[in-house]
């Protein structure tokens, strides 16, 4: 163990030497790069290097104005540091490093310190500092797939009662494209009663009694709007900033930009309940970002993370024995061929092992008090309570440092019988949403956890009826206006922002585009959405697209 300690010491010293002896132009370096936090986690990070074009940067002297450049810059350092470390590794420690020493190097750091030992987190998801101080460290995004009716839940329009059965004036519907209905369809009145709640006086439907109970912790945006009027593209748009599959999702951007705080769980986890998701796996894809940033879907049945359980017949010791043989061989090869990538693989296997040991505990709700479980309405193993279970799991993931927890609940696509549909969905979701906020708050997690609730678009003030499809008393897709709510880190509570016209058709005040929502989320996490970019096919892509978009000032704490 002493020997390991000295290795450790040696590494740190070498890294300071690295600063002195660097062959790179000092002017391009930001000092934070040499901050231990960054250095310690990236010293063996060959993977990062693989994804960069660092020579290109050196050759072209591109501006260091975005995170991708910061990464590239870091990769330059990393390369050099790796060299130093490798030299040390071979010269000083030799290749015969024992099993114990290695295990210690890999096991996750000195006790009591948030900074792990060098080489303990050699991954591209190592934490990175934000652009400016962050208000939130993580996001729980409650995505209501299918698009809930804002007119039944949040945006009360008495005028629709008055006009029910009549068409909306052509001047209002002119030029709009709809998925199923013709724009001259008749108006449908709201199906529920509304009441004001809390000190903030937010007006909510009778379908949301639990949300009403925490209404002052929440802020509403009634003027959200989007560009797309079909589910799959619109869901992709909210998740990736583009309606075409293939772009990085918000969780991937955050994993890429900020790294992960969890060393035994993925940085971006996807939970799902309800029906089918139109946007599919593209919604948690890393797109053109390094694929290690893609969301990891937890499975409803079987292993929560695919293949996290040992195969039948293998106990943890058999797994450990196998790993020891694998790692011994890999270390040996590292000594022979010298490729630092082998060290990355050694570390990846150790993290996999840690994931295996932690996963069962993560999923074990028996650690929760009965009070907590019943507050959510959760019931382990009951698929009818899947959303409540996922909300509770989301909190547990948040506690364990997962950066982005995407909770999908599908089933809000009420083309027919919007009244019955909304009623049923609220029964499944209202209590758990409110419980999540309460629970985070009572644990002090709400301060640095951002919770977002919303769908991909809204629903028409007009009725949808179709004989061929057997539909009546429904509402069609409506991209022009819908409602979202926000709570927690970075959000000023109790705000009601934005207003629609008296028909609930267009936004009349404070429009908030989906890209603004994304900019807001990034802002709460300390990221300037204009500077989080990645070069692909000749363009500097960003989550929020090319138009001028901005965080919603009125929402920010």
């Amino acid at each position: 163990m002493d020997h390991v300690g000295s290795c450790d010491h040696e590494l740190r010293r070498n890294h300071h030497e690295a600063v002195d002896h660097t062959v790179f132009d000092h002017t391009v370096f930001d000092h934070t790069v040499f901050d231990h936090t960054v250095f310690d986690h990236t010293v063996f990070d060959h993977t990062v290097f693989d994804h960069t074009v660092f020579d290109y940067i050196a050759a072209t002297g591109r501006a260091l104005d975005s995170i991708d450049v910061r990464r590239e810059q870091k990769a330059m350092n990393t390369e050099f540091l790796k060299l130093q470390t490798r030299r040390h590794f071979f010269n000083d420690c030799g290749v015969g490093l024992g099993k114990i020493a290695l295990a210690s190097l890999l096991s996750g750091g000195a006790a009591g310190s948030s900074i792990a030992a060098p080489a303990s987190r050699p991954s591209p998801t190592s934490p990175q500092p934000p652009h400016f101080p962050a208000r939130a460290k993580r996001v729980i995004y409650l995505f209501m797939a299918g698009a809930p009716s804002q007119l039944e839940l949040f945006d009360y329009k008495p005028k629709l009662v008055e006009l029910e059965g009549k068409p909306i004036p052509p001047s209002v519907v002119k030029g709009q494209r709809y998925a199923f209905i013709q724009p001259d369809a008749a108006v449908l009145a709201p199906r529920f009663r509304f009441k004001k709640h809390g000190d903030s006086g937010a007006e909510l439907s009778e379908m949301l009694p639990h949300l009403a109970g925490i209404v002052d912790d929440v802020s509403f945006v009634r003027s959200a709007h989007t560009d797309l009027f079909n589910h799959s593209p619109a869901q992709l748009f909210v998740n990736t900033g583009s309606g075409i599959p293939g772009r990085p999702s918000m969780g991937s951007w955050l994993s890429y930009g900020l790294g992960s705080e969890a060393n035994d769980l993925p940085s971006f986890v996807v939970l799902k309940s309800g029906g089918s998701l139109s946007g599919g796996a593209s919604m948690w894809s890393a797109g053109f970002l390094p694929s290690t940033h893609q969301g990891v879907p937890f499975r409803g049945q079987g292993d929560p993370i695919l293949h996290v359980s040992n195969p039948p017949g293998y106990d943890m010791r058999a797994q450990r024995d196998s790993l020891d043989l694998i790692q011994r061989q890999n270390r040996k090869r590292l000594g022979v061929v010298g490729d630092p990538e082998i060290l990355t693989r050694i570390n990846a296997y150790e993290m996999a092992y840690r994931m295996q040991t932690r996963a069962p505990e993560l999923m074990d709700f028996s650690q929760e008090t009965a009070e907590t479980v019943s507050m959510y309405g959760a019931e382990s193993g009951n698929s009818k309570q899947a959303f409540a279970n996922n909300c509770l799991l989301a909190r547990r993931l948040a506690e364990r440092g997962v950066r982005f927890i995407q909770v999908y609940h599908a089933g809000w696509d009420h083309h027919s019988n919007v009244e019955g549909g909304v009623r049923a969905q609220c029964r499944q979701t209202d209590q758990a949403c409110a419980a999540l906020i309460r629970d985070l708050k009572q644990r002090g997690l709400l301060d640095d956890t951002l919770v977002v609730w919303g769908g991909e678009f809204g629903r028409t003030p007009m009725v949808e009826t179709s004989a061929a499809l057997g539909r009546s008393m429904g509402r069609d897709h409506h991209p022009q206006a819908f409602t979202m709510w926000f709570a927690g880190g970075g959000i000023r509570p109790g705000v009601s922002l934005g207003r629609t016209d008296e028909l609930g058709f267009h936004v009349a005040e404070d429009p908030v585009h989906v890209h603004d929502v994304q900019a807001t989320i990034l802002h709460c996490l300390g990221i300037d959405h204009r500077r989080l970019t990645f070069r692909f096919r000749g363009l500097n892509f960003r989550l929020t697209g090319v138009e001028e978009n901005a965080p919603v000032e009125g929402l920010l704490a």
Binding site: H46, D50, H51, V53, D55, A58, A59, T60, G61, K82, L83, R87, A179, F180, H231, P233, I244, P245, G246, L277, S278, G280, A281, S282, P290, T292, R299, I305, H307, V308, P311, P312, G313, D315, R317, L325, I326, Q329, N330, R333, V337, G338, P340, E341, I342, R345, I346, M351, A352, Y353, M355, T465, A467, A468, L469, D476, R531, R537, G538, V546
Partner: protein
């Protein structure tokens, strides 16, 4: 190759390193004038072009710095660039200014110039401020190979270029890799599979000096060569077996995938390979195979979500086609010019849409592929059907009473036939086909065919409206009813009669409303009937009356009987006079595009209330005629039809129905079909790249920057394809050889494989790149020759071991002082282990298959999709054949960075993650292979002497996976592991039955399975080194 002579021939050529890469400081020496391409353009491109570049819309102060004309233009007394005179050059003054309003780049732009960069620009101006074309836009010439000092190292020209560079850096190449490493490397690179230990030994022991070259030639002839290289091409082609987006339904385009494999195996020249994929349908006398090849650009996604605007998603597919074409054949990010002129490269917004127009004028049908084996099956079954039809009459139930069975049968048949005939005769009316005088629609093109039916082509929408005008003058009396026949046509999806091609059933239609006017007066329908009606999707009915109920959401449809004719009869409230025009308006309104593809309109003057009949119209016409006019063949036709419908033979016909259901269908594949000359598709410029914001229409053409290079400018898809592989396109050779280089070395000579534009990474070995590009073309565009050239070079054959010195000098191996070492691609991970296990099927081509994975993978996709695991051989096919579902990619590949077919992928990631570890350790698919491998080891190494057999088994497992033999230390570690697991198994701590996955498992076998699994997880196993 006589290297010495070759090198002598090059003596005296001054060849110095022209590439700036690897130098941290790119600034030239003070006594040199900075080179525009090497030193200046990178600065201007990254700092200035965004506001002063090719994009006219974002250009500030009317100043462009990407051309000399622009930079030296008079700006009202001053000039940004005064050649030779930095002091009077406004750009220098601005760069040096302290005034934030004056300073360039503006301080708030986030861009700033270093002192060294300003210095470089100033000295460039002093030296005359000369511009050069971007290197990639200058057609490559074949440079002479440089002179090197170490003349005994190079094996071919590649090595001369590489070595010259190394020598200039004071570096030496690495020694040749050992024979085991080399044989494994070249197997993996050329056929994507590892050698068996026997194959490896054969090479290692082969003393022929040409042993390696002979091996390479053998591998190039292997049928697996095409499979390995097809995978790379399919990444670029964004191949997938599903449509993408929400529903992500299955599509059939695997014949295209097989075409790629075959073309590569046959070493089809790359120019032909290009032309056939982009425009095979337009080649004179296009063969079936050439049409299949056009599936290349059909690999774009298709949105089938209910309610989409189909033309919007067609536009996005076109955008993808332009970007993919640009990446693949031009190495240019032309996609950047979708919204505005390119910020860095000389591609204008209009250029972009001119390129789009080159690809735009095509329809996108399915092509039926008559594979001979299937055709043979069909012929056999069809013959049986004919035989059974002929036997039907003989199965008619005999009447009771007297006479022989045959007589009684004949009697009863005649009685029933006569009865049927009389009934049908009384029902049949005489219909007169109406010949239209005018055909008008919102968008599709309607044309009149010889049989007076009307055929629809061109684009369709969610609300198509056909306005048809028929002169009624030919009728003998007022019309009492109208008949609409909807007709099949092989050109239509699923044979028609409708044109639905997404969301609904292929070939379906949905006729919402028919309105009629005669002489300008509305015509009222009294009733309606249909021969058949069914609606797909939804719960509505397909009653004939729906077409005149005034409700667009009801209608008539004939789903599930595509490829057959059906009819609808409308009875008029009041007869319409046989004069003037009848105008019919058909409205097709649904949440997907579903208008009719082929139809015919007739009228009758008959009284009574004619109804739609299931009897074919020819037969009905016959029945309506006086029976005295019937010929013998008329009677035979009537009888034949009767036998096909009479309830008396229902039982007998069951065999026929069964035979018909057994008729195997030909697979279809998605192809391009150039549109007819009389209905070209117009292409517009789209403001801001948005679908709805169309502006002026544009003519097809190549980007202006290349126009001076070309002889004839391409004006259609075929000419464009030919242009792409001509001297007019300076990039195609470089881009293609660079891709091959990347596949073999892990990185291209140009790192940014899909981008050779001004923002791209300059090549590490520019002369080598150009030499290879020319050599490739001169060798007849042969990919096999190119691959052979590279893998037989000394450069390729170097050991990949790396020293600390080398890491310090060249961490990214840009100088190529060592061989490649990379983790293999996702599919190869599985293929290698499949091959080692002995289970790999070597069948080439065919439908995609489903290797085992948990249902929970696809359950995440829309519609809770199941994963129907293949049985038998298909479970163990090469990974190239695994069914590729875009919204739920095969988990074991996705985790190893395989693309999902959404983008053209020129460079895959190579990540190294814990999820990969979990997959290789715990995925049931891999465990199955470990079991098979260990079983073979145990079976092949009998337990005569325990220790010898253990050595043998461990070595066997190790070599199957790693090729090379283990050294003593390794062997010892393997045996130690087996021993310790064996004792745990024997003392009951571990359950052999579970580990072996079978009842009669032994502890011995289980221990070897555990070892096989562990070796599968060695870094070296999944690494090409």
């Amino acid at each position: 190759m006589p290297i010495e002579r070759f090198l002598l021939g090059c003596a005296g050529v001054v060849w110095l390193m022209a590439s700036p890469v690897l130098c941290a400081d790119a600034a030239p020496r003070p006594d040199q004038v900075p080179s525009f391409n090497r030193d200046v353009r990178p600065i201007l491109a990254s700092k200035c072009f965004e506001c002063h570049g090719p994009d006219e819309e974002s250009r500030e102060a009317d100043l462009r710095l990407d051309t000399r004309e622009g930079a030296t233009a008079d700006l009202g007394g001053s000039r940004a660039l005064s050649p030779g005179d930095p002091e009077s050059s406004e750009m220098v003054a601005r760069m040096l200014s302290d005034d934030p309003d004056e300073k360039m780049p503006p301080p708030d732009s986030g861009k700033s110039l270093t002192a060294a960069q300003i210095e470089t620009l100033s000295r460039w101006i002093t030296g005359g401020g000369k511009y050069e074309r971007h290197w990639a836009f200058i057609p490559p010439e074949r440079p002479a190979a440089p002179v090197v000092k170490t003349t005994n190292w190079p094996r071919n020209e590649i090595d001369a270029f590489v070595l010259a560079r190394l020598e200039s850096q004071g570096l030496k190449p690495s020694p040749e890799a050992d024979r085991y490493t080399l044989v494994r490397r070249v197997y993996l690179d050329l056929i994507g599979l590892p050698p068996s230990p026997e194959q490896a030994d054969a090479f290692v022991l082969d003393r022929d000096p040409q042993a390696y070259e002979n091996l390479v030639d053998r591998l190039l002839r292997s049928k697996h060569y095409g499979e390995r290289w097809a995978r790379q091409w399919l990444d670029l082609a964004r191949y997938s077996d599903t449509n993408g987006y929400e529903k992500d339904r299955q599509r059939s385009i695997w014949p295209y995938r097989d075409w790629v494999i075959n073309a590569l195996n046959e070493d089809m020249p790359f120019d032909q390979f290009t032309i056939e994929q982009l425009a095979g349908d337009m080649l004179p006398g296009a063969m079936l195979e050439q049409r299949i090849a056009t599936g290349f650009h059909r690999n774009t996604m298709l949105n089938e979500e209910g309610g989409i605007d189909p033309l919007e998603y067609r536009f996005y597919a076109m955008v993808d086609r332009v970007a993919t074409t640009g990446t693949l054949w031009m190495g240019l990010t032309v996609g950047c010019a979708q919204c505005h002129s390119h910020k860095y490269d000389p591609i204008t917004h209009t250029d972009y849409y001119r390129m789009l127009a080159l690809l735009d004028n095509a329809d996108e049908p399915d092509l039926s592929v008559p594979y001979p084996a299937i055709a043979k099956d069909r012929e056999r079954i069809e013959a049986e059907i004919v035989k059974h039809e002929a036997e039907l009459a003989g199965q008619f139930p005999p009447a009771s009473g007297e006479g022989s069975v045959d007589e009684r049968r004949e009697r009863k048949l005649e009685a029933h036939f006569t009865e049927w005939l009389e009934a049908e005769q009384s029902r049949a009316v005489n219909w007169t086909t109406l010949r239209p005088s005018h055909l008008k629609t919102n968008l599709p093109k309607l044309e009149l065919l010889d049989d007076e039916s009307i055929f629809s082509s061109g684009d369709i929408t969610k609300r198509d409206v056909f306005t048809l005008t028929f002169p009624l003058g030919e009728l003998s009396a007022p019309a009492t009813a109208l008949r609409l026949e909807v007709l099949p046509d092989e050109r239509l999806p699923a044979g028609g009669p409708g044109r639905a091609y997404y969301e609904g059933r292929k070939g379906d239609f949905f006729l919402s409303e028919i309105t009629a006017t005669a002489g300008g007066q509305p015509v009222t329908f009294a009733s309606a009937s249909a021969s058949y009606g069914k609606i797909a999707i939804g719960s509505g009915n397909a009653d004939a009356q729906n077409v005149f109920d005034g409700n667009g959401s009801t209608g008539w449809s004939t789903a599930e009987r595509e490829g057959e004719p059906h009819q609808l009869v409308l009875n008029l409230q009041t007869p319409v006079a046989a004069a003037g025009d009848l105008q019919l308006v058909f409205v097709f309104e649904r949440h997907f595009a579903a208008s009719l593809g082929r139809f015919r309109v007739s009228a009758t003057t008959a009284s009574g209330e004619p109804t739609a009949s299931a009897v074919p119209v020819d037969l009905e016409a016959l029945l309506a005629r006086d029976s005295s006019s019937w010929t013998d063949s008329d009677r035979i036709a009537q009888k034949k039809y009767f036998l096909s419908v009479t309830p008396q033979l229902a039982e007998a016909r069951k065999k026929l129905d069964e035979l018909r259901s057994q008729l195997p269908k030909f697979p279809t594949t998605m192809v391009m079909q150039e549109r007819p000359v009389d209905n070209p598709r117009k292409t517009f410029r789209h403001h801001r790249g948005e679908y709805l914001q169309t502006r002026e229409d544009v003519a097809p053409g190549a980007p202006a920057v290349f126009r001076s290079l070309g002889q004839d400018e391409p004006t259609n898809r075929l000419a464009f394809a030919r242009w792409l592989v001509s001297r007019s396109n300076p990039l195609v050779g470089r881009v293609t050889v660079n891709r091959a280089w990347r596949a073999l070395f892990g990185n291209g000579l140009v790192r940014t494989s899909g981008d050779f534009g001004t923002q791209a990474d300059p090549p590490t070995h520019p002369e080598l790149l150009d030499w290879l590009a020319r050599e490739f073309v001169e060798q007849g565009w042969s990919l096999k020759k190119l691959h052979r050239l590279i893998v037989t070079s000394a450069t390729y054959r170097q050991s990949s071991r790396v020293t600390t010195e080398l890491i310090a000098r060249d961490a990214g191996n840009r100088l190529l002082a060592r061989g490649p070492r990379t983790r293999v691609d996702a599919e190869m991970v599985r293929d290698m282990i499949l091959s080692a296990s002995g289970l790999l099927s070597d069948k080439v081509g065919g439908k995609s298959v489903y290797p085992p994975q948990p249902d929970s993978v696809t359950a995440l996709a829309y519609g809770d999709t199941k994963w129907p695991v293949s049985a038998g051989e298909d479970r163990y096919r090469r990974s190239l054949y695994t069914f590729s579902k875009r919204t739920a990619p095969f988990a074991a590949y996705a985790v190893f960075d395989a693309p999902s077919g959404e983008n053209c992928t020129a460079r895959r990631d190579r990540s190294n993650t814990p999820l990969q570890a979990l997959t290789l350790l715990n995925d049931e698919m891999f465990l199955e292979l470990a079991r098979a491998l260990a079983r073979t080891a145990v079976d092949q190494q009998p337990t005569s002497t325990a220790s010898a057999s253990a050595d043998g088994r461990a070595t066997f497992l190790f070599r199957r996976l790693l090729t090379r033999p283990p050294d003593d230390g390794e062997l010892e570690a393997l045996l130690e592991f087996v021993q310790s697991q064996r004792s745990r198994l024997k003392n009951g701590e571990l359950d052999a039955t579970l580990i072996c996955g079978e009842e009669d498992a032994s502890a011995e076998l289980a221990a070897w399975i555990m070892l096989a699994r562990a070796i599968m997880n060695f870094d070296e196993t999944i690494t090409k080194q």
